[in-house]
Amino acid sequence: MLSIRDLSVGVEGKTIVRHLNLEVRAGEVHAVMGPNGSGKSTLAQALAGHPAYAVTGGEVTYLGRDLLAMSPEDRARAGLFLAFQYPIEIPGVSNAAFLKAAINEQRAARGLDELDAMDVLERLEQKLQLVEMDKSFLSRPVNEGFSGGEKKRNEILQMAVLEPTLAILDETDSGLDIDALKIVAQGVNRLRRPDNAIILVTHYQRILQYVEPDHVHVLFDGRIVKSAGKELALELERRGYDWIRDEVGAVA
């Protein structure tokens, strides 16, 4: 589904992601772990097409298309979803209005009919239960005045509503209490289908107790330095990131 080959990404002229390779197949969940500043968000943002993150080398194929040639909105319409580490506030625009616009623009791009307000509302209310949010959540402005946990749940709500083909979750688990974490995990598990894939960017192993990854990668200084099965997450939890640093340092 997603094939990243030799990808390098720079921010403000500084190379952050270096020669990264990653292969994601339909039905898989990949965990990308790594210490702060290792380039996890940079990778996520570059895949979504953020203009501040400049791709300086490599190729990315998504569903057989050249992802890097697509505009951010086209990537989204092709089913790529990014749950932001720091969700953005849009004052005055209700969650419902925002999601209605998103749903309908994505549908239009796929040649589907526009959903009317009633249809959208029905769909939203259904998904609200998943994130255990009250109906009033829909009339609140997008992320404005939300607590950290509410923002993260809102990302999951949007993901559930938009039903992406490839979801990239950037530390959606950070800063959540155990109940909220379970809700997020549940949202991810619901999305898990043979024709979907998920990249779970995380700093901690905690969420992986609820969402079982097929592959775990360690990102260090912009490179994937280690890939293995879910057992790697536990090892990282036990031993921290320092031993990786030592290992990588020894190789370099």
């Binding site: 953020h50 989204a76 979803f81 506030e89 999601l99």
Partner: protein
């Protein structure tokens, strides 16, 4: 990659789809202004003596102002001097016979024009729930639902008709809120105004439909000088809407209107405007000079007047819908969205004059500047010493799109007693690249993302508009931004 800056720079290319000209035979006076012109306008309308007298007094006052100081210079706008002798002060579509025309006597081209503007006047097609007075250049051509409203004692007609049929009411209230001595343009309007709308809501009546006037400038070289007077008697309620468009022309055209509102005890007037006069082109050629005086008086206890305006058009807007809170417990509100793109300039705001005790006022102003637009909020809150326990809340927010536009805020606040409070909040923001990217990541196009963010910014104002108008206003901002992303 499109950034909001680039996106909105491209606002310069926005389309104006109301810019067509109708080919209609007109009865037009030659350009120029003197006492004879005023006598002629008054005679064309077969006005009673008191009207001509009032016009002449206004004219003499205006002439004096013109000789002494000329037009007011304090507004934060720049434009070449206006030659008042080059303006046409009266232009009306020709028609047969006297008195108000019935629908089948109206030139079909006129009906067609209004239909094209989305204001069908014909019996079958007219807008449900909205009574419309359609003003074309200097005269009102039709007023819908007049008879139905009359059953409730509501008078809704053109100003000219009101002068003929209800001279007592006109004489009593004309100039009672905006005297002709008020300012330069109010004096000019009082001298030459040719038509407009008149509404009278009798005691205790809740007007069952929206009343609305649609102003259309068509003739070249003419100015539009209309006057609206709304009187709401004790305990009555009315919601009034005003819309306007004009053809695209390279020369500037002057629109100097006066609106007066009178709300008696416990009455409520909601006055909403969607102003969409032609704004001129990207270089600042052409467009309407919109120099307007709007004021309401809360004359009776507990009266309430709300101004809601969405100003997207005009080359220059100079306008301060105000409320005189004369009676105790009265309420004044001002909700405004002003958009300036290209070379548009707006100097707009409000005045809240607190005279009565326990009077309340709320001001919410949202200024949006794009391109090389220049947007100024100018507001005065004056709480007199005798206005005990008065309250004002003012919020002025500016949204800048791009870095060649300007936003300015001039709030003047005078609190004359210790029991009163005036609060003021202001903010300036930009649409961030992060917001735009977030929307795009959810599949929104850049255009839609920008309109959505702008609509969110304007929400507190839009929610005060009647439903049909809110949709219209949203569409207008959408149209203004259409095609602005490459």
């Amino acid at each position: 990659m499109t950034t909001p800056t680039k996106t909105l720079e491209a606002l310069a290319t926005r389309d104006y789809k109301w810019g067509f000209v109708s080919d209609i035979e007109a009865d037009t006076l030659p350009p120029g202004l003197n006492e004879d012109v005023i006598r002629l306008i008054s005679a064309k309308k077969a006005e009673p003596e008191f009207m001509l007298d009032w016009r002449l007094r206004a004219y003499r006052h205006w002439s004096k102002l013109e000789r002494q100081a000329g037009e007011p210079k304090w507004a934060n706008v720049t434009y070449p001097p206006i030659d008042y002798q080059k303006i046409v002060y009266y232009s009306a579509p020709k028609r047969q016979g006297e008195g108000p025309a019935s629908l089948d006597e109206i030139d079909p081209k006129l009906l067609e024009t209004f239909e094209k503007l989305g204001i069908p006047l014909g019996e079958q097609k007219r807008l449900a729930g909205v009574a419309v007075d359609a003003v074309f250049d200097s005269v009102s051509v039709a007023t819908t639902f007049k008879e139905k409203l009359a059953e409730l004692g509501i008078i809704f007609c053109s100003f000219s008709e009101a002068v003929q049929n209800h001279p007592d009411l006109v004489q009593k209230y004309l100039g009672s809120v905006v005297p002709y001595t008020d300012n330069f343009y109010a004096a000019l309007n009082s001298a030459v105004f040719s038509d407009g709308s008149f509404c009278y809501i009798p005691r205790g009546v809740r007007c069952p439909m929206e009343l609305s006037t649609y102003f259309r400038i068509n003739a070249a070289g003419s100015g539009q000088f209309e006057r609206t007077l709304i009187v709401a008697e004790e305990g009555s309620y009315v919601s009034y809407l005003e819309g306007c468009t004009a053809p695209m022309r390279d020369e500037n055209q002057l629109h100097a209107a006066v609106v007066e509102l009178v709300a008696q005890e416990g009455a409520q007037i909601k006055y909403s405007t969607v102003q969409n006069w032609y704004a001129g082109d990207a270089e600042g050629r052409g467009g309407i000079f919109n120099f307007v005086t709007k004021r309401g008086k809360c004359a009776g206890r507990g009266a309430r007047i709300s101004w809601t305006q969405v100003e997207t058009g005009s080359a220059i807007t100079w306008k301060y819908p105000s409320v005189i809170l004369q009676a105790d417990d009265s309420i004044g509100e001002f909700y405004s969205v002003a958009l300036t793109a290209n070379r548009q300039q707006a100097d707009t705001g409000t005045k809240m004059l607190h005279i009565g005790k326990n009077t309340r006022s709320t001001i919410i102003s949202k200024g949006i500047s794009a391109g090389r637009g220049n947007n100024t909020y100018r507001g005065l809150v004056r709480i007199l010493p005798r206005a005990a326990n008065a309250r004002n809340y003012t919020q002025c927010d500016s949204l800048l799109l791009g870095d060649r536009c300007g936003a300015h805020t001039f709030p003047y606040i005078e609190v004359g007693n210790a029991s009163s409070i005036a609060e003021h909040e202001a903010s300036t923001s930009k649409i961030s690249d992060e917001q735009l990217f977030y929307c795009k990541q959810r599949g929104l196009s850049g255009d839609n993302a920008v309109s959505m963010i702008i609509n969110g910014f304007c929400k507190e104002v839009f929610k005060n508009l009647p439903m049909e108008f809110a949709v219209e206003a949203t569409k207008l901002l959408g149209v203004s931004l259409e095609g602005s992303i490459g």
